[in-house]
Every structure is written in C-alpha cells, then in structure tokens.
Symmetry: C2
C-alpha cells in the first residue's frame, strides 16, 4: 500500500473516531450508533462479559449517556490508528470528568480498543473493548489510575 | 480482496493465535514473545493502564506464567478473526482453570482483543487488550462470569 493510500484510510478512520467522540460529548445515542455495525461484539467497562448486536449496544449507550448530568469533559488520549483497505483498529486512553445524576463526581480513565470493517465504503465499528484493570490483591477495579 | 486471499490471510493469523495459545499452555515466555512486535501496547487484566514495549510484555508474561503450578487448562472460545493485507484483529473469550502457586484454585473467564501488523511478511501482535468488567455497584472485578 502506498503511504498516500495509508494516510487516506487513516484519515477516514480518524473521522469516524472523531464522530464517535463527539457523540459521547453530546450524549447523542443516534450519532453513537450511526458508526456501529449491526453485528458488533462489545466488551464493556462494567456489567457482563459481552454485548452482542446493535440493540444491546444502543441500550448500553443510552444507559451510560443518561447516567450523567450537566456538562461532561471527554478526552481521547494517545489515539493510535492502524488502517488497511478493509480492516482497521484503534487504541487509546479515554477520560471522563463530570457528574453522575445525583451529583456524585466522576473522574476516570479507561483503555479503549475499537475495531472497524469497511462495509459498502463506510467504516463501521464491529468490535469495541473498554476496560479498567483490577488490583490483583483486593479484586477492586482500578478507577483511580492516570496515564 | 478475493475470498481465497481473505481465507489465506485469516489462516495465517489463526496460526499466530494458535502459537500464542500453545505458549500459554506450555508457559513458554520465549514462544509467547516470538509473535509480539517490539513496540506493543498492551492493556492487561490487572495492574496498570498500559504496558509499552516488548520488555514490559516479557516481564508480565513471565510473572503470569510463573504464578501457576501444575497443569493449567486454557481455552480460547468464540475466536473471531478479521484479516486484511497488512492489519488484522481478533477477539475471543478466554478461560483459565488451574492452580496458583500455593494451591489456590483459579477458574476465570476474560475478554481478549489481539491486533496484528504484518511486518516483513510475519504477523506480529502490536496491541493486546485483556480484561474483565467490573460491578458498577460494588466496584469489584467480575471474576465469576461465564459465557
């Protein structure tokens, strides 16, 4: 692949990732699912081992977005994008800073891996993996880590 | 891409994943790192947000492998492989069943995402993300989940 082609594909995926980040900031469920494939397999930060399919993805996004009140700050740091003709993957450290409904502050970093297929000329997310590590001694999720 | 080409690339990545699974079963650190790129970014089940580079990867693999005693059963379930010319990604639910040093049993499922670059004709892991979700109420890692 030429470096021009590689740069073009990477910029396409970057735009899809930017749309995704914007959808989080605006808590827009329709915008969030618009870049997601029908058969997505999602490994989420909380809950069950996996969520399969767009309906479950939409349900989780709706729950997550509606758990906040007021402005939220959302940052995607150290975003790495690897994009070929048909498949691409990204990883980053993500940060959210805001308030839960009820006023409880949330200030948390997690790891995100997002994988794409190019389907009908569009980059769609077919797999997503978000998590925090846990402390091997206590068994507690590490919600206090910073990059 | 022709379906023959796609099947060939997928089978190459599957072989790399098979070698990786074998390296876990035999707790062979050298075999485990032989399919890993020098600049790997790894998000591990426990510990810190990320481990960067082959030296940290080797250190973590050594710690993990040496934390078991006797036979371990290691299963990779629902392995999905997406492979293009230069980039590939896989996801699966992984299971380990055995004994920690000291005799404490371990029987645990986690989610794994593994991303490859084809470098010099070889598929090498450039990114790996392994995790369990946590319980949003208690903050505890969910080590009890089963697929």
């Amino acid at each position: 692949m030429t470096s021009e082609k590689e740069a073009l594909l990477e910029s396409e995926v970057r735009r899809a990732m930017d749309r995704r980040a914007e959808s989080v900031r605006s808590r827009d469920v329709d915008a969030a699912v618009s870049v997601v494939a029908p058969d997505i397999v999602s490994y989420d930060v909380v809950g069950v081992l996996q969520n399969i399919g767009l309906d479950e993805y939409r349900k989780r996004a709706t729950e997550w977005f509606s758990s906040f009140e007021g402005e939220i700050a959302y940052e995607v740091r150290d975003l790495s994008i690897s994009a070929g003709d048909d498949f691409a993957f990204c990883h980053s450290l993500n940060h959210i800073n805001g308030k839960r409904k009820g006023g409880q502050p949330i200030d948390m970093w997690w790891r995100a891996t997002v994988c794409f297929h190019r389907i009908g000329g569009r980059w769609l997310i077919v797999h997503e993996h978000s998590s925090v590590p846990f402390d091997g001694s206590s068994g507690n999720a590490r919600l206090d880590l910073k990059p």
